[in-house]
Symmetry: C2
Subunit: 247 residues, 2 copies
């Protein structure tokens, strides 16, 4: 808790508050946002949400999910900026050179996992958070960073991953396939892997191979037609219901 | 309606009635069962349910689904015996020679589609059935017969298919791949295709190829670990919620 700072008063819209925070860790700060019901009903689950490449903690997708999880389910939902994203740097499109440079740092995945662990430490200290009911939601870059994180984090009880794979140009450029090969068998919590059947960034066979490699005994693959940015009509609600089943 | 005969008084258990019927068609009769709420709330959707190989219209799976659809959703749910199955003949395990002989009849798929059409004609004449809200549920043999049926039946608005594929020994023995290749592109209604990742009867690649070939713009693949007879923990509820979304 010592490292958690609220940096802005809560904004409350439609009964959901969004609070900006930072978590200090080893001399740097991790900027985050927490959505929760303005009137929380005791300790509730926490969903950690990893945004996609070129996105940030409060982009449209994170905001939509934060409102869904807090508004429809009464949960806490937190997102943090990825390295060189949002308040941490210049990337606002995936073509920015800093995006590629980020992946070339040998410890970028380990550092982001440490950022998530520090965030989880801090947020589970809140009296509205039930530290025994923690889930993770993140696809695309949210899986590239999130999969290694959840593989090593027993406090995360359930996960939604996807839109990423073992092979394909996006994967090879990032070098993240090394982390997938190492960590996928260690992912043991119940999980839902969501993919787009016609994904132009992560090839189909590589996504199926990643699903295959995931070590969880209780897992499911959901595949919808469409490209990387598309989503099945019921995808988010189905994912939320899946999280609810295990939290 | 002229061809529909109730052959047994309704049995009502837990507020759900199960009524046996036959539908006459071209000199033979098709035996079926209809589950519905004992006190139906006006015209409700109808789910046609195709049982698996060696099963029958009232086996444990059909009964479970009939009670789920009628009890939790208030729908009508009907199953009919497949050729040489249930009241139509000797097959009670997939190793019975009559099962293989059935697939060698050149018109077996067309005849079963005609049986389904006659059943649909008859049941949509009931005052408790909304003929504009009809779905199909059938995996394995329920897809081997059901896919060609729904491909040619515009009254079926939504379908759950799966546990079948374009290749593999089960498929080749049945010869049904010819029908899948012909009819899969004609399946246009929203659909959910469910498969088992480690299916020992229908190989993985052939199931993915069948999903790929389905002509529906709005489709989703759900894959769970396990063999042919296994099912994901939330599979049936997720399928029911999918049907509900489109009915």
């Amino acid at each position: 808790m010592a490292n958690l700072k609220w940096t802005k008063d809560a904004e409350t819209i439609d009964g959901i508050s969004a609070r900006l925070f930072t978590v200090g860790r080893d001399g740097h700060t991790v900027p985050g946002v927490l959505w929760q019901p303005a009137a929380p009903a005791g300790r509730q689950p926490l969903i950690l949400m990893g945004h996609g490449g070129s996105g940030h903690k409060r982009n449209a997708r994170m905001t939509m999910l934060g409102k869904l999880f807090a508004g429809e389910y009464g949960w806490n939902a937190a997102a943090i900026d990825g390295p060189v994203h949002g308040d941490r740097g210049p990337v606002s499109d995936a073509g920015h050179p800093a995006y590629r440079e980020m992946w070339q740092r040998p410890d970028v995945v380990e550092q982001m996992s440490a950022d998530w662990r520090a965030t989880l430490d801090a947020l589970t200290g809140l009296e509205t958070v039930d530290g025994k009911r923690v889930g993770y939601w993140g696809v695309s870059m949210g899986t590239m960073f999130g999969l290694p994180f959840v593989a090593g984090e027993p406090r995360v009880r359930v996960a939604v991953l996807g839109k990423a794979g073992m092979s394909g140009s996006s994967v090879l450029r990032s070098g993240v396939d090394v982390h997938f090969r190492k960590h996928a068998p260690q992912v043991r919590m119940p999980l839902l892997f969501s993919m787009q059947w016609d994904d132009e960034r992560f090839e189909r066979a590589g996504q199926l191979a990643l699903y295959d490699a995931l070590g969880a005994a209780d897992k499911r693959l959901h595949a919808y037609p469409g490209q990387h940015v598309d989503n099945g009509p019921e995808a988010f609600v189905t994912q939320a219901e899946f999280l609810k089943r295990y939290l």
